[in-house]
Structures are given as C-alpha cells and as structure tokens.
Amino acid sequence: MITIFDNVIIGQYVPRESFIHRMDPRAKIIAIFIFIVFLFISRHPVVLMLAAILTGVTFLLANIPFRYYIKGMHFIAIIILLTFLLHLFMTNDGRVLLDLSWITIYSGGVIEGSLIALRLFLLVLMASLLTLSTMPMDLTDGLERLMKPLAAMGVPTHELALMMSIALRFIPTLLEETSKIINAQMARGANFSKGSLWTRLKALIPILVPLFIQSFKRAEDLATAMEARGYNGSKGRTKFRRLQWKRNDTIAIGVLLIFALITVIFRVYT
C-alpha cells in the first residue's frame, strides 16, 4: 500500500556482516560525535584529507554498496549545492575569477564554497552510515545508556528512550495510514495541487483530521495494551538488550581521538 512514501529510505537499516555493524552503538555515536565536532574545527587541507580518508575507510569497512546512499540523497544534494553557491557569491576574498556586471566571483569564494560543501558531504555520509549500519533499536538503546548520567539530574532518560522506540515502531504504520487516507480522499475527488495556497492548505483537512483521529485511537489502544502487559515505568525493569563494549570499539574511538588530536595541532600551529 505504501506508494507516496516510496522514496523515503534515508537511513533505513541495511543488515550486513561488517566491522562497523558489529560495533557497539555507543561507540558509533561517540565516534561520529568526535568526527563532526573536529571536522568543523580546522579547515586545513590536510585535516580535510584525513577526514575524507577516514570516511572512505569507514565505508569500505561497513560493506554497504554505494547505491544505498544515492536514492535518498537528492534533497541533501540540493542543500549542499545551495550552500556552495551561497559561499561562492558572498565571499569577497582573493583573486577575481569572473566579473559580470551583476556578480563577481573571487577565488576565495570557490575555495570557501568547496570546503564547506566537502565538509557537509562528509558529515552527511558519516551520519547516514550510522543509521544504515545500526538497528534503530540499538541506536535508541545506545542513546539511552549514553544519557544515563543525565537521569541523576532528573532527565527522564527511560521515558525518552521509550518514546523514541515507540516512534520507530509506529512511523511506518503512520506513513502507510497516511497513504491510505490520501488514496481514499483522492478517489472522492480531492485535489491537492489546484488553486491558491489557501485552497491547497484547506485541501489537507480531509487528510489531517482522519490521521489525528486514528493516531489518538492508536495511542489509546497502545496505552491499554502496555498497561495490560504490566508496564509500570523504569522501576524494577530489566533489559532484554545488553550492550557489549569490545576491543574494536576502543580501537575505533582511539583512531577518532588521534584524528581529533591532529586537528587540534593543525588548528593551533597553522
């Protein structure tokens, strides 16, 4: 039944046997965090090259064919391109490369634009690699455990994790539901692409109302089901999943720390 959301596959888990797949989700989250922070600390070409190599190696290790990334990338490609153009036109450094009456392009613009585009590209690749190589449930679990120290400060970490897990469970169901409702209203002559903006917004009501009503019904049913299954918060709760920090996770974090160190060195001494 899913038709309209056919192309929403960004970040869907791709099961494989690989070094990256086997990593502890906590290690993956920490590693990506380090990578992103330090990627934006230095703009030295050596650092960017290192980051590119790091991304490349991770890719090979993850054993996920490149075509899995492309389909969902259109939107992000546009953002990267826009950012590139913005920097290209807005930077007034360096030699003049092109001088038209309405716009001047400087060499600094080209460099600045390319740097930011490359960084964004690497960032997106690494981030999608995280979701492509980790089961959503493991990701939630990793986050819950990383947030654990916050529980002492009164942050409801268990509830947040449960919310994320329920969202993961129901997003596909809701997408399917939306598709069904859209189909049913289109069969009754609904038209979402005609008339003024106001008319088009109004045309969404026949979709949103049923969707809300269904979602409330689901939420109510789900709450009853959870109660019937003895759910009573985090008190006395044991866990089905157990994360295991292995040697490879330490190695991976080590590599990222070396990358961070090099970045800092280049930042400070150049």
């Binding site: 329920i166 993961l168 089901a225 109660e227 709760r237 089905f240």
Partner: protein
Amino acid sequence: MPNEISVCNLSFRYQDSTPYVLKDISLTVKKGEWLTILGPNGSGKSTLAKFFNALLIPLTGEVVSCGKNTVDSAEWSSIRRDVSMVFQNPDNQLVAPTVEDDVAFGLESAGIPYDEMHQRVKDCIQRLGLEGFEKTEPHNLSGGQKQRVALAGALALKPKVIVLDEATSMLDPQGRNEVLTIVRKLNKEDGVTIIAITHDVNEAIASDRVIVLNDGSIVYEGIPRELLANREILRANNLSSPFIVDVARELRKYQILIDENVLTHEELVNAICSYKRII
C-alpha cells in the same frame, strides 16, 4: 476444579450519566477451561474482558482473578502477569520495533533476569512458529503473524489465563486459523485457561462452554452444541447459526433423519452418507 476467575454481581457504567454497560454479571471460569463469550457488537463483552486483568476495577460487585481481588492495587502487576490479554487490532498492541523486543516487553516490565528472559523469548518465538522473524519489524508482518507475536508476548509471562478480546476479527481466514490453532494447543497441551471474546459463532464450536452476552446481561450459558441448536436464542441475540446447522435443519424438513447434535462438516457428511445407505 478450582475457579481461575470469578465475577460476582458486577455492574458497570463509564459515567454516572450514561446507561449501564454491564448489569449484574456473575460468572466463574474454571482452571484449564476454554470459555467463549459471544455477543453482538455493543453487548458489553469487551468491557467485561477488561475486568479480568484489572484494567477496569469494579465499583459494584467483585472480581477475583487467580485468587486475587482486583480491587487491591498492590496485586495489579501480579494479576496482569497471570491473566494475559490479546486485543483486537494487531497494529495497536505491539510496542517495540522488532519481534523479539516486543515479546520481551512484558518480561522487562516484570523484572525477569537477563538469561531467563532470553531463554523465554526464544522458547515462545519457537512455540508460536515465529523463528526467523526475531529481528523483523512488525509492519512487515501479516495480521496473523502480528497476533502470534502478541500471543508470544502474552505466553512469555507464563500466564494462567489468556483473554482473547476479538483477537481474530480483523484477520483473514488464514490468519484466523493460525491463531486459533495455536490457542487450541496452548489450552490442550499447556493447560492455559482461555477466555475468547468473539461475535463469530463458529469460533465457539471448539470451546468447552459458551456465555452469551446481550445488552450488558448474561442471557445464555451452556455448552456450544446446545446453543447452536437453539435457534431462538441465536436469533434473539443477533447471532447467525453455522451453515452446517442450517442445512441440517432444512434437511430434517424433508423427513431426513439427522441427529440434532450435528455441528461440523464431518458429522453432517457422515449423517447424510449413512442415511443414503439406509434408503
């Protein structure tokens, strides 16, 4: 045999201003029994179901489940472990994003230790024929498979009673068979007490006892055979009699001797063929 559940003079309405949904209900469910509660839509049967595991608490009357009075809130967790429930809509009762996580959900709540939990999840998944689906996301399962996951989650808690609240009404015939076959197995092999709430008369045939609920009152109690032969009760409660029973009744009009007890295909075929041999 001891009573697993006993309901005594239970009346209930959702608000003071609304009519009673349940009117002075008294019933008992014996250990190891398979009880069917039949009734048309709006008869109050799903509301009644929620009293068995303390999802609703009586204001008038009393419900005792597995020896524990449901008024006592300290017992709720333990009652819900003893009395598991499978609901109507397969999409709205699975909580976790994968099959094994969902089967484990109740065990996590009950604080079952790690090793035992894994053993039980594995056993239940195998028991319900869901091997190979451990990591599958619920939305990629068929309706029948989803209900089996829900049953696995219920079974993992080693309940004494399983309540099926119209658990097959949204399934296709294949899914319905899958679920009913397993329920039968749990009842016969594991001795789990089954309370099945349904509007499908055919589902009552295999059970030990039937209660018919209409407009909040119990209007009939007996064994399925007697109910299905009782055309007046069926008609008065908007229940359709099974096809086989109808055909047998028609044939009797033509002086063809067919036992009043005939309920299943096999029984009718045998009756017709032996009649053929006589004439």
